[in-house]
Structures are given as C-alpha cells and as structure tokens.
Amino acid sequence: MALFFKCLAGTLLAASSMMILSSCGSGTDTPDDSTITVDDIKNSDEGKSAKNVFYSIPSPVELANLVKKAGAVYDYKILNDPENHSKYSTSISQALNLGVYGTDLSMTTIFDRTQESMFYLKSARRLADKLGITGAFSDETVNRMDANRGHHDSLLGIITDSYFNTDEYLKENQRPNVSALIMAGGWIEGLYIGTQLAKTTKKNDEIIQRIADLKGSLENLMSLLEIYKGEEGIDAILADLASIRKVYDNMAVQKNTTNVNTDDKTKVTTIGGGDIYTFTKEQLEQVTKIASELRTRIVS
C-alpha cells in the first residue's frame, strides 16, 4: 500500500512538473523554455526526426487588398447579405460563412466602408459564437472597431487579430478542420468577388491576372483540406475545388527561372522570374461559372 501511494505521488509530481514546464511560455514573466524529462519519450523516438508541413492560405485582408490594388470598384451588392447569418444552422455552413463574412468584412474595410464593416463584424461574431469560438470576436472587438472608425490600418489589424485568434483557438482545441473550412469559405468568396468584379470592370486585365494568380493558393488550400479528408464537410468542398482546379491546371504557363536581387540604394530585395499563368476567355468564364454556383450554394 505504501508503494502504491509512492507511485501515485511520483506520477502526479511528474505530471504536474510536465504541465508547469510546458506551460511556462504562456505567462508573461516566465522564460519561454521547456524541457520534457521522460526517458521513455526519448527512447521511443531516438534517432528520428519529425517533419511538419503547413499550408498557408492568403488571408481575407490580403485578398481584399489585391482586389483593390487591381483597380476594382467597390460593389456592396455582390457581397453576402450580413442578415443571412441566421440561415446557417449546421457547423459546416457556419464555418464556411464565417470565412465568407471575413472576406466581405475585409472588403468593406479596405474600401473604407466602416458602417458596412460593422454589420459584417457583427454577423461574423454571431457565427463564431454559434461555433463556440470564444474570445476571437468579442464585445471588445466590436468596441475597438467602433473606436477606430476612419483608422484604416487599425481596423485591418483588428480584423486580422480576430481571424488569428479564431485559427489559434480552433487549433488549440483540436478543431483544425473547422479552421480549414473557414479558410476555404474566405478563399471561395475572394474568388467569387474577383470573378464578378472582372465582369463589371472595364480595364479588368489586372483583376483577371489576380484570379489566375490564385492557382498556387488553391493548391495549398486543397492540400490543407486533404489532411482532414473524410471529416464532416471536407470532402464536398474538396470535390468542388477540384472542378475549379481542373480549369486552373489547363492555363497557359510561361516558365521563368527565379532569381534574387537587392537594390543597393533602397535595400529592397526582389524575387524575379517565376511562372506566369494566363487564362483564356473561355477558361475565365468557366471559373466564373463554377465559383458563382459554389458560392451560391454556400451562402444560401
């Protein structure tokens, strides 16, 4: 019996030590170091190294920024109705539309439509609440947005923080598949907005090039979703994205060798070369049609 309690005490001590050591970086006054001292862990993995692969998707703010830089004119009518949030009753539609609203919120903010931004922020918050994501879109977020009206950079920073906190919360709580769906929704909305604006903008060459430029991020998005293949909602989105990818894979490509140059005066480093993809008119129409159908299904 004495041995039993010795074991119990020892085990609890080891467990609490590991907790303390591995959590010490989260405080503000403790060093950002940790150490695991369990020999079994070392022995089981000795000599092996692990490889983590991450796939980065452009943020809603980055997509909206690209649209603006391409010379597009703001059009509120093509965005999802912020009142639609009440329609989304499943966690899949809530996650996808949290992404959609993220892109719409970024668009309204990039184009300095603060009042509309507030509507989208509130809709995004409602969906985040339904998904049980706490802290990312709070009263404080809404108040900060309100207090920073007219401060373009501050508003974009608040939106980015909210989506960063969402991603962080979901990964911490072992729900990275939900985060991937949010990213998918945001990406699809970005493609939809781009293709719709290409139809209504007279000088649309740059917008069309930006749509073609999404090829790499589509591949990354699909690779990210593949990790969660078989989980709720993932396979259907993957199938839809595969039909878009089919068109992208047939684009003409001009291959160029990459190189790096740093300007002696400005100190700006530029990566030159790289592959340039271009759409035919028919391919752009195909992508526009698929994106429109897919987006309609998501927001309906």
Binding site: L3, F4, C7, L8, L12, A15, M18, M19, L21, S22, S23, C24, G25, S26, T28, P31, D32, D33, S34, T35, I36, I41, K42, S49, K51, N52, F54, Y55, S56, P58, S59, V61, E62, N65, L66, K68, K69, H152, D153, G157, T160, D161, F164, K171, E172, M183, R210, D213, G216, N220, S223, N256, T257, T258, V268, T269, T270, I271, G274, D275
Partner: protein, 147 residues
C-alpha cells in the same frame, strides 16, 4: 492493481502535455512573434509547432506580385538558433538565414506571383544528458496593405 493505476496516471499525464504545449506556443507567438512582424500585417494564420532538435518543418505559400512581404521564423531559446531557407518549387534556393547572420526575418517582394517553400530546421542536440529540450517554433507571414 498498482500497475494499472500507475498506467492510468501516466496516460493522464501524457494527455495533459498537448494542452500545456498549446498554451506555451500561444504565449510565445503573441509575445515574441507578433511584434517582429510590425509594420507588416499578419496573414492571420498560426503556423506553430512543438519541435525538438533535428526536427524540421515546411511551409508552402503563395506570394503575390507587387506586394511586400516579411517572413518571420523564431524558436524558443532552448532550441538554439533555428535556421530557415526559402526556395522555389524547383528547389532553387533563394534565401538561407545562415548566410545572413541568422536573422529571424526576411523582407522581400516578388515580381510575379509565386509559390515558395519555407523550410525550418532546428539544430541537432549536442548535449550528452538524458534531457531532450522541446520548444515552440513559429513561422509568421506579414504583408503590407494599400493605403
């Protein structure tokens, strides 16, 4: 009885590790990583992992033409100096932090939109005791917006 109880306690202890690790990365990214991105705006994604000596990680990402970017790669001090390389999809090396005094960030822009790969390497462990250090490593991407 004793053995099964001991096993249960070990399982509980191991189950608690990821919770602590996630909290550890959270504090590290916010406290140390985010300030290094300024004046760039984060792309809003968390690319962090608990890593050990000899581990490596890859981040695949798309950079858009005409946009200014910053890549930040940092690891907790216990891991030593974490190195990173940036290459194109044919393997052509574009940047190696080892050749730049092991700086933890790189600012650049691209002429044409490109898919690039960031490879992060935690140096091998050179100690001779039984302790394996683990620590959080994070890769953050920032960009500048149009005003």
């Amino acid at each position: 009885m004793k053995r099964s109880f001991f096993s249960l306690m070990i399982l509980i202890a191991l189950a608690l590790i990821p919770m602590g690790s996630a909290a550890q990365c959270k504090g590290f990214v916010k406290k140390t990583g985010m300030p290094k991105l300024v004046p760039f705006l984060s792309n809003g994604q968390v690319n962090s992992s608990q890593m050990r000596p000899g581990d490596n990680a890859e981040l695949m990402l798309n950079f858009f033409s005409g946009q200014d970017y910053r890549i930040v790669v940092i690891g907790q001090p216990i891991l030593g100096t974490v190195h990173f390389k940036v290459s194109d999809m044919t393997g052509n090396l574009l940047y190696n932090s080892k050749d730049h005094d092991d700086t933890d960030f790189w600012d650049f822009r691209v002429n044409n939109t490109q898919q690039l790969k960031v490879e992060v390497v935690v140096p091998a462990y050179s100690g001779d005791n039984q302790i394996i250090p683990t620590g959080c490593v994070t890769v953050m991407i920032g960009f500048k917006t149009e005003k």
